[in-house]
């Protein structure tokens, strides 16, 4: 399961990151690294881009990059 598969309101833990995409590295510089917990805040009209929250920040990214982040959903989080 990747970050791109989450629904709004879901929380999940980042487990594995594919660092071959240069866009992914930029997201890592913003703090999207392994083991942090993220929350899918919003998905824009049309299904893309996504708004992901972690450590009090909201970061917007496209699905294309989100697919490079493997996640485990934290149960009972779906809204």
């Amino acid at each position: 399961m990747t970050l791109a598969d989450l629904n709004p309101g879901d929380t999940a833990r980042l487990t594995e990151i594919n660092t071959n995409d240069p866009g992914v590295i930029k997201l890592m510089m913003l703090g999207m690294v392994e083991d942090i917990t993220v929350r899918m805040e919003n998905i824009a009209i049309g299904g893309d881009p996504l708004e992901v929250g972690f450590f009090g920040s909201s970061i917007s990214l496209r699905k294309e990059q989100a697919r490079h982040f493997k996640v485990t959903r934290i149960d009972g989080s779906a809204s």
Partner: protein, 716 residues
């Protein structure tokens, strides 16, 4: 140079009391409250210039402390020292003292947003590697408290090896006295200790820096190893041998990109520090927070976006009217006064028809422009502009760009010049150029006077449902500009600027109440710029146009003028005489030469010469029309729009017919009449190709649009 001047003005006393001012760089994440802090610390003692060789604005100001003063240099907001956008590179180069002509800062004032400790600490960790003294200002303390976040400042200071941390509130001003006291001795503070987040890398970097010595600072080695600075990366290979560097890199990073390894290591450390110093109370949502979260959802947010746009257009038209009437009355009153006092001669005509009618017809739009800017500044300050780029990313993708182009395009509604500079946050050069060429299509505030003049004169002031017809036409013109820009971007992105699909990543700031002082300073700045232009460029053009329109005089003119006051029934004769004078003036002769070019658009020589005069700066066109029609008519009571409505061709037909006015509006929507924009495009793209292309393309588009509308419209 500046130091010399200070010595010459001993009266102020300031120059003497504090001799050499240490230069301190203000650095932090975007939206961390940096500019508010800067304004609080420097007050109005700030100057804006450019860093030498680049167009990034250099804001600097003096901070007066009890015993000394500091020169504070504001740097663009950044998330990391590894960034690749122009803004990021400038901030890093200035902080590292790599910009020629700008001295290396003697210390850093690092701004960390208490609600975003996570990213703030990451940048801080990288800044510590510079090994210069620093002081930390912890901003947004009130917002943190409201969000249930409490930060143990003493523990944070301890975790950072003693770097002083000062919590401040820019809203109440709390903590600023402590911060200022802390800044007093900043340059003699100890350099911060390197945190133990990545010991193996730290050791290697220090060993290499010691080994290389001389010109190599620790940070240079770090950037060379991480390959975040191409120059130093190459130099390191030359100094140590490419093979040895490759071996060192392989040991440190294996086959992962160095920046990814750095992020993992440094953020791991940030997480442990945050766990120690920050407590997050269980979140109970306040009503306001819930309302904001609801409005951030895609559909409410999109609807809200359009509602705000409509409100802006309504406000620009309806709120400004009383003030505009006031300025209008004042300027025509002044004109009449000049004629009464000075008699009817060349001097009074110069003052009344040249200066007052010309400059006054532009100044009258100050209220509208300030209302527009007020909205844009507030939207920016609340963080709402960034959110619109999230909402609009999908739309921008259809033209081959990303949501990142939305902020420059929206701020282009105020002025294309800062918006072209704002494209510096766009990492890809092709996307950036496409945005730069699309931005001048957006309806800037200088187009507003022309739109407002023509709409007020030719569109009936009627209501259609909730909307006012004039507001609707204005809205339509804005849409026309947006379409022009988007189609242009689409065209370029699928031809000359074809490239990989743009990425989109952006930190979305949460809603914040706008800071009154920041809004006031920015608004004041815009008013100053506008009035300065009216007082210089537009003043000069008005004088020039008056001279061209007034000379040479007709023989019968003196006779006609002396009889003017008591010849009510001869008004038509007077008008005919005035028109004849205009025809044979220099301006009339020039106008008639260029008239054939614009005749297919339905413009007479007056409109044509006004439009041509507007090429350096489009708002000049209103001033030129003001002067031409003031000189050309003898009745000063009429407003400019009434004069336009009654302007006729020699054969008696009205000049300003509906197709002609619509064509003229379309011409102004698309035409690139702004020397400042062209110069900015030249500087930002570093080539003449793009400004020349933009000028011919946009002017051609405006002309073609006006031609089609006039010709087709006249047939109907």
């Amino acid at each position: 140079m500046t130091e010399k001047t200070e010595v010459k003005i001993p009266l102020s006393g300031i120059g003497i009391r504090h001799k050499a001012k240490a230069s301190i760089a203000l650095i932090g994440n975007p939206n961390a409250g940096k500019s508010t802090l800067f304004n609080r610390l420097t007050g109005l003692r700030q100057t804006t210039g450019n860093f030498p060789g680049v167009t990034v604005e250099k804001h600097q100001g003096t901070v007066e402390l009890t015993h000394s003063a500091l020169n504070l240099v504001d740097l663009p907001g950044i998330y990391s020292l590894d960034g690749t956008s122009t803004d990021e590179r400038i901030a890093v180069d200035v902080a590292l003292g790599r910009v020629p002509g700008t001295e290396r800062p003697a210390g850093l004032l690092v701004v960390i947003d208490a609600t975003h400790l996570y990213q703030g600490m990451y940048l801080l960790e990288q800044l510590i590697e510079l090994q210069i003294p620093m002081v930390i200002a912890l901003t947004m303390i009130d917002a943190a408290t409201a969000n249930g976040i409490s930060i143990d400042t003493a523990a944070l200071q301890k975790a950072l090896g003693g770097v002083p941390v000062y919590p401040v509130s820019s809203i109440t001003g709390n903590g600023f006295d402590n911060l200022k006291a802390g800044l007093e001795n900043i340059t003699s503070n100890a350099v911060p200790k390197i945190p133990a987040s990545w010991p193996e890398f730290s050791t290697v970097a220090q060993q290499l820096a010691d080994e290389l010595g001389g010109h190599w600072q620790r940070i240079d080695v770090i950037q060379a190893l991480l390959q975040t600075h191409p120059g130093y990366a190459g130099k390191l290979g030359k100094e140590l041998g490419v093979e040895r560097v490759a071996r060192i890199r392989a040991d440190l990073f294996a086959d992962t990109p160095p920046a990814a390894v750095e992020a993992r290591k440094r953020y791991k450390w940030v997480q442990t520090v945050i766990a120690e110093v920050q407590e997050q109370a269980p979140l109970y949502s306040k009503v306001s927070a819930r309302v904001i979260r609801w409005t951030n959802q895609p559909w409410p947010a999109t609807l809200l976006f359009f509602a705000v746009l409509i409100l802006v257009f309504q406000a620009v038209f309806s709120w400004a009217t009383p003030l505009m009437d006031l300025i209008d009355n004042a300027s025509s009153g002044l004109g009449r006064l000049a004629i009464e006092q000075l008699g009817d001669n060349a001097l009074s005509s110069f003052i009344a028809d040249g200066v007052i009618a010309g400059v006054g017809s532009v100044i009258i739009f100050l209220p509208q422009i300030l209302i527009l800017f007020l909205f844009i500044i507030v939207l920016e300050d609340t963080g709402y502009l960034a959110r619109t780029s999230f909402l609009m990313d999908r739309v921008m993708r259809t033209v081959g760009l990303s949501g990142q182009s939305v902020i420059p395009m929206l701020s282009s509604f105020a002025c294309a010049v800062p918006s072209i500079m704002a494209t510096r946050v766009i990492p890809d050069r092709r996307d950036r150029i496409a945005t730069i060429l699309a931005a001048p299509f957006m309806t800037c505030s200088a187009r507003l006077p022309i739109y407002a003049l023509l709409i007020a004169a030719f569109v009936p002031d009627e209501s259609i449902g909730l909307m006012n017809l004039q507001g609707l036409v204005l809205f339509g013109l804005y849409i026309l500009g947006i379409l022009g820009g988007l189609v242009t971007a689409r065209m370029l992105k699928s031809s000359a600027l074809k490239g990989p699909k743009p990425q989109f990543m952006l930190a979305l700031p949460e809603f914040r109440m706008p800071n009154l002082q920041t809004v006031a300073i920015k608004l004041f700045d815009r008013a100053r710029i506008f009035l300065k232009r009216a007082g210089t460029v537009i003043f000069f053009v008005a004088i020039l146009v008056w001279t061209l329109a007034y000379f040479p005089r007709m023989d019968t003119d003196d006779f006609a003028r002396s009889n003017f006051a008591n010849s009510a029934q001869e008004t038509s004769v007077e008008n005919a005489m005035a028109a004849a004078q205009m025809e044979q003036s220099w301006l009339g002769r020039i106008g008639r030469t260029i008239e054939p070019v614009f005749k297919p658009l339905g413009w007479d020589w007056r409109v044509s010469s006004a439009v041509v005069a507007g090429f350096p700066a489009r708002e000049v066109v209103v001033a030129v029309m003001g002067t031409i029609y003031a000189v050309g008519s003898e009745a000063d009571e009429q407003s400019l729009s009434e004069k336009l409505r009654s302007a006729k061709w020699p054969d008696g037909r009205l000049i300003f017919t509906l197709p002609m006015v619509l064509g003229l509006l379309v011409f102004y929507a698309w035409c690139l009449q702004c020397a400042a924009t062209l110069a900015t495009i030249r500087r930002e793209t570093n080539s003449w190709r793009w400004p020349i292309f933009a000028w011919f393309y946009m002017t051609g588009l405006g002309y073609g649009g006006a031609l089609i509308i006039y010709q087709v419209g006249s047939l109907l």
